[in-house]
Symmetry: D2
Subunit: 106 residues, 4 copies
């Protein structure tokens, strides 16, 4: 995901509208939470869902994630891979297999 087409397109849209002034890290973190809430609303009363609506809300969450990553000069793909190696250690295969238990209770 390094300086990919999505991030480049988001940055162009933002620059054209001079919205960069609103994109403090804190505001982007709030925006991710707000959009995550809208995504969750697709599942408010059960597990059935409207795929198009989920797609649009997921896109909004991702958009703000890419903006925050860019603001912090982080490559999204790299930080996901880095965090995965932490998860691998916290959740050894033999202990975590088939269980949703949190690492500190494994």
């Amino acid at each position: 995901m390094s300086e990919n087409a999505a991030t480049a397109a988001i940055k162009e849209l933002v620059a054209e509208r001079e919205w960069g002034q609103f994109h403090l890290e804190e505001n982007l973190a709030k925006s991710i939470s707000i959009e995550a809430g809208e995504l969750l609303q697709c599942f408010q009363w059960g597990s059935a869902f409207d795929r198009d609506r989920v797609r649009d809300e997921l896109a909004d969450v991702l958009t703000y994630c890419l903006l925050l990553a860019d603001k912090l000069a982080l490559d999204p793909e790299t930080i996901v891979l880095q965090k995965l190696s932490v998860t691998r250690e916290k959740y050894p295969v033999d202990k975590a297999r088939g269980r949703s238990t949190k690492y500190d209770a494994l």
Copy 2:
């Protein structure tokens, strides 16, 4: 972001631990909200933040986003680009420039 290294690595980690059984779309949407809350916690009392902590929490949000996209057979980069074209129409440059106003109040 199409079947990128990050998604492939996440899927391998999940498969090794047989965690796919927990990854209903609804549960992934909840997980995105939960991790977004942890990201927001980095900014709970103000705009100052610990960059390493933000990086880790952002990686967690992204990880669940990639899992949900994969579960729905959606390409993350494509859906972001599609949603941007909606945003471009809702927020014409001449009306939205320099303003954080929501489209229905522009």
Copy 3:
């Protein structure tokens, strides 16, 4: 809930610790979202839950709600009752009975 025992006790705890300086309305709104995420975590992988954990997380959400209400000089019980009358109008009994549909789709 008007200036009830809970709000009074919260305010005393906050005053003793000189925490009022952190309790900008915005920070309290963030705190409500953060604690709501922790409550949601009790249900991350399904509908089964640990009642004691839910009780504690719900108490945290309520505590920040009472702090925000107090900060805005709002009486929690009154604003709930006021909002209910809006809901009654948006969701007439004959249209909304037995349906979880949002008002704009009824």
Copy 4:
């Protein structure tokens, strides 16, 4: 807040509409997160806010909190007071005064 006017009014509104069937604990927890996101949206781009909008969104969060408490046969005021005594111990006045540091870093 024990079986107060607000809870009684919410329960009547819910019963009239036969909405109790949707109010699984898990769904109420999701609803609290969703409404917390809408409250946070009042502060998305900064600390300035529209008091009426905040009041309405806070009322929605509180309404779902009261519903969840009622569902679990918990008294809202009592659980807030119980949790406060835990907070008092985690954050002794002499260590926590004037600091927003989390208890495990005090």
